[in-house]
């Protein structure tokens, strides 16, 4: 007792120090969280209940949720949110690639630096001469040359710290500033992106016009074969994991289901029914070929995991969609080239607004915290492993596959989960600053809908319901990380 009394002062002091934080957590996080949960089950709308209109708030049970699930808009906005998340695997791959590059020292020795200085000066002089001559050397080219040269030179002098700083720059720049910048970059008429695309498209147009339409259209069939190859590789890996007991049967089937989605969409999107038919036929053949092991016994009788399968499906699906899209583009190219290939209208176009935001998100994400996490992960890889691999005669690719990638597995899984959570919650700031959710709702995400329902219409009931549905998605992603993360990482 005396001891407790002696420590009471310390306890009070500690509580006093902690109280601002605890109070903040209680008032600004826990209370709103609980309150929003209650709101989701009531009919609280500012139009009907507020301090100047004291009508009773009624308990409506799951009404708000049922109503939302019946609304076409909700599914459309969920679709938009998921569409914007397609860029996540690419952003993760980009972050990893950058981290590997930035993990190497780029500082030039005394002798190595001279050629670089000479190159930069040469680039600058050439650009200036072109400019003076008026040979298509716009201010943009000059600026581009100078920037590229300057970065090379700085990298040679300052080493990798320069590149790390430059690549991390978007992360400590204000989001709104970035959005305004990209809005200008996407300007259909004067934006640098379209200015750069225009000559490229003109050349493609000329080439496509000069060859028989048969050749570009072949791209659709090539895409079918490529998709089949990707599917075969993924299913083979999936089957191996299942046989070795690393993958549960349920997940094996679910991942298979996920990966045949592009085959199903091909029936709606492919301009040739024949191509969709061929893809379906080959996919079915692969699935049957891979399902055969289900009839046999497993090599190992493991409890089965799912993280590997989920991750595989997550990585394969966007790749398949990209190839599918490219195939369709190739098929339509001759017809479009005949009418003239035009640079996209980006944010003003219903079909390009989402990819536009995705590209910008990719740019923001590659050099972000993900890159830093990978850099930290890379520095933790024991050099002895690389030395051992060197002794075994492993190539660079082998070292990446068998040393770097497995050692970065915990980081990759953490980044995946955080990106999925961020992706589900994201899109609001971009939509507000760049598109206002348009055109025609093309960039309205669930988080933007929460804002619109709650603050623009006062429908706190519905806004909270959307928020809690979103929370369920986020929770599922988090549970997946808790349940399967460790197992995957230790594989």
């Amino acid at each position: 007792m005396r001891r407790l009394l002696r420590h009471r002062g310390d306890l009070l002091a500690a509580l006093a120090f902690l109280s601002p934080n605890l109070l903040g957590l209680l008032v600004f996080t826990l209370f709103p969280l609980g309150f929003s949960m209650v709101m989701a089950f009531t009919n609280w709308n500012l139009r009907h209940q507020n301090m100047f209109k004291p009508n009773p708030v009624r308990w409506v049970g799951f009404d708000n949720f049922w109503r939302l699930l019946q609304e076409a808009d909700f599914w459309r906005f969920l679709g938009n949110t998921l569409f914007l998340m397609i860029g996540i695997p690419f952003a993760i791959a980009g972050s990893l690639f950058l981290a590997i590059l930035l993990n190497k020292e780029s500082r030039g020795g005394d002798r190595r630096i001279y050629p670089l200085v000479i190159s930069v000066v040469a680039v600058l002089v050439s650009a200036m001469l072109l400019g003076l001559w008026g040979m298509g050397a716009s201010a943009m080219e000059l600026l581009l040359g100078t920037t590229a040269g300057g970065i090379l030179l700085l990298g040679a002098i300052g080493g990798r710290a320069v590149y790390r700083t430059l690549l991390y720059l978007p992360s400590f720049t204000s989001g709104v500033a970035i959005f305004v910048l990209w809005k200008d970059l996407y300007n259909p008429d004067t934006g640098p992106i379209n200015l750069a695309l225009r000559p490229v498209l003109r050349n493609i147009q000329n080439v496509v016009r000069s060859i028989p339409p048969f050749w570009p259209r072949l791209g659709l069939w090539a895409a079918v074969l490529l998709m089949v190859a990707i599917l075969a590789g993924a299913f083979r890996r999936l089957g191996r994991h299942w046989r070795e007991g690393d993958l549960g049967t349920g997940i094996f089937l679910s991942a298979t289901g996920f990966m045949i989605i592009p085959t199903i969409t091909a029936w709606f999107w492919f301009p040739k029914v024949g191509a969709a038919f061929l893809l379906t036929l080959l996919t079915a053949a692969i699935v049957i070929w891979q399902w055969t092991p289900l009839a046999g016994t497993r090599d190992a009788d493991g409890r089965g995991g799912s993280a590997g399968g989920l991750l595989l499906a997550l990585m394969t699906l966007p790749a398949l969609f990209v190839v599918e899209g490219l195939g369709i583009v190739c098929f339509n190219l001759p017809a479009q080239a005949a009418n003239g290939l035009h640079a996209p209208s980006w944010l003003a176009s219903y079909y390009w607004a989402k990819p536009g935001l995705m590209i910008m998100s990719f740019w923001i994400a590659v050099g972000s915290n993900n890159m830093l996490l990978y850099l930290a992960g890379l520095s933790n890889v024991p050099p002895e492993l690389y030395e051992a691999a060197d002794l075994d005669g492993a190539s660079r690719l082998d070292k990446f596959r068998h040393v770097t990638w497995p050692m970065l597995a915990p980081t990759t899984f953490f980044i995946c989960i955080m990106s999925i959570i961020g992706g589900l919650q994201g899109g609001w700031d971009m939509a507000v600053a760049m598109t206002q959710g348009g055109p025609a709702g093309a960039t309205t995400t669930l988080s933007y809908e929460i804002y619109a329902q709650g603050f623009q219409r006062g429908a706190f009931d519905k806004a909270s319901a959307v928020a809690w549905i979103m929370f369920v998605f986020v929770l599922l992603a988090t549970l997946a990380s808790w349940k399967f993360g460790n197992r995957y990482v230790n594989e």
């Binding site: 300007n187 709702g441 603050f455 623009q456």
Partner: protein
């Protein structure tokens, strides 16, 4: 390990909390890095000192707030960031003094000019006293019960409806109560840059025209102003108003009793198709992509005013308030010869009446003072200022008759323009139809963002877009009446009336005007001779 911090405070790092000798005994158990000081200056004292300093700073800031130093009470006015607003307030002080009214100061609040902000502040009990509303806002504020009922005092103090245009009533009155008084009144018309027409040897457009005439004249202009085979850079106009076009064909967004959305109608489909044709085929107006490529002009009104002044838009669909910015351009480019023509019509000429109107926040402790401000809006001092600065039409129609307003002596290029707008306000202007069963914001979003933008983006056909708009709005109506007894009762009553109207119309008999609540149909039925 010791590092000297400013003001002689020493940072003492205690590895394990034991090896260093000079630290406060209590810190021993905490271990790690702590801050100690020579004279018992530990982190608790620093925290306390910080607290005292912050409290003192807060008190000082509060004492020095500009509002505390004012001689008179301050009313904050949430309004749009319009350069004219400052000069419009300038005569207030003298006016109050001259009439021996209680003195107060009005501060402009541009930062909160967003209805969602005002509503959140309002329902939290702390919003600005005066709030400007525009278009759809009144219903939302009225639903939230955030506006002070002006009816009893408006008549007494002289800012009731007899001091403004009759057509304004629908935009400032709800359930027979006046909640707002207009700060200015406007109809949207096509302002014509006559120099642009002259430049391309085209005759200026007539004051009124049909869809076919609009299309013919527009096509001729775009052909003359742009080289063939190239993407047009000079446009006939910036936009068309589907609401006016639709109404000119006799179709409102809602039925006679405002109980049902009636947009799933071939007339709306026709209007949508015309809009598409004029945008993507005839290039009379810019496509969304072309609009996005216009560089943003930093001044009031964005790029449109600048492009109109330069002749890139031969006509601008706007109101008289454009003159605020246009008159600034005169200084550099010289005055542009102007004319005004009405939007193209089907068979029923009409105009949309817009009102920027001011209301008083119900929770404000200075409601009575704020009423003097509304009284000021009816005054000669304020109205003449509106006339001088070009900010739409004055709210008090008495001043809209002055020659100085209609033909401003210093701007001969504008002569005749304002008269067209005033005539429209007094003759053909009809406010929008607001259904009490669905928020105007929801209607706008469904109609413009979902249906019309979706149709223009090629997601829906015109017929699908029209059905989609009607279905979604009607679904909202059904949901809202299901959740409100009051609305349900009103809905049932109006549905009964609607049935009577439908029967009478079917039998080709005249409909009693009292049965019709939709302001558009009230006028339309009278014009067609269908009402008694």
């Amino acid at each position: 390990m010791e590092n000297l911090l400013p003001w002689g405070i020493r940072a003492v790092t205690l590895p394990g909390g034991a090896e260093n000798g000079r630290f406060h005994p209590r810190l021993r158990e905490w271990g790690g890095a702590v801050i100690g000081g020579p004279g018992n200056m530990d982190i608790k004292h620093i925290l306390l000192l910080g607290l005292v300093l912050l409290t003192a700073a807060s008190v000082l800031t509060d004492v020095n707030l500009p509002s505390h130093r004012r001689r008179y009470p301050v009313l904050h006015w949430v309004t749009d960031d319009n350069p004219a607003r400052v000069v419009e307030l300038a005569p207030l002080k003298n006016w109050l003094r001259r009439h021996r009214y209680p003195m107060f100061t009005v501060h402009l609040d541009f930062a909160n000019d967003d209805m969602s902000k005002f509503v959140i502040q309002g329902v939290s009990g702390d919003a600005d006293t005066l709030v400007d509303t525009f278009d759809d806002d009144l219903d939302y504020l009225h639903d939230c019960n955030l506006l002070y009922n002006l009816t009893p005092d408006a008549k007494k103090m002289g800012f009731d409806l007899s001091h403004t245009y009759p057509a304004v009533k629908a935009t400032v009155v709800r359930n027979g109560r006046q909640y707002l008084y207009p700060t200015n009144v406007n109809v949207l018309d096509y302002w014509v840059n006559k120099a642009a027409f002259a430049k391309y040897h085209q005759p200026p457009p007539p004051r009124t025209w049909t869809f076919a005439e609009f299309q013919r004249i527009g096509r001729a202009f775009v052909r003359a102003a742009n080289p063939p085979g190239r993407r047009p850079k000079v446009f006939f106009t910036n936009s068309v108003d589907t609401r006016i076009m639709r109404r000119s064909l006799g179709l409102s967004a809602f039925n006679e009793t405002l109980t049902r959305c009636t947009l799933a109608d071939p007339r709306y489909v026709r209007v949508l198709r015309l809009m598409y044709r004029w945008t993507f085929v005839d290039h009379l107006l810019p496509t969304p992509a072309e609009e996005a490529s216009f560089a943003t002009h930093p001044g009031y009104g964005g790029p449109d005013f600048q492009m109109f002044n330069n002749g890139q838009f031969a006509m601008l669909y706007t109101g008289r308030w454009m003159l605020i910015q246009l008159r600034k351009f005169y200084k550099t480019t010289g005055p542009v010869p102007l004319a005004v023509c009405e939007p193209p019509y089907g068979n029923f000429p009409n105009a949309l009446l817009f009102t920027r109107a001011t209301g008083i926040y119900i929770g404000s402790p200075r409601k009575k003072l704020a009423e003097y401000f509304l009284k000021y809006l009816t005054s000669r001092a304020y109205n003449m200022q509106i006339i001088r600065d070009g900010d739409a039409e004055p709210p008090n129609p008495v001043y809209a008759r002055s020659r100085r307003f209609l033909d401003p002596p210093q701007y001969p290029n504008e002569w005749g323009c304002t008269a067209v707008e005033v005539r429209a306000i007094q003759t053909i202007a009809i406010p929008r139809a607001y259904s009490p069963f669905v928020l105007p914001w929801t209607v706008s979003r469904i109609m413009r963002t979902d249906a019309e933008a979706g149709f223009m983006a090629g997601i829906y056909t015109a017929r699908q877009a029209a059905s989609l708009a009607a279905d979604r709005i009607n679904r909202h109506i059904i949901h809202n009446i299901r959740h409100s007894q009051r609305l349900r009762r009103l809905y049932d009553k109006l549905r009964r009336r609607q049935k009577i109207i439908d029967c009478l119309r079917k039998e080709k008999r005249k409909v009693p005007l009292r049965l019709i609540t939709n302001p558009f149909y009230r006028r339309y039925y009278v014009a067609k001779g269908w009402a008694r």
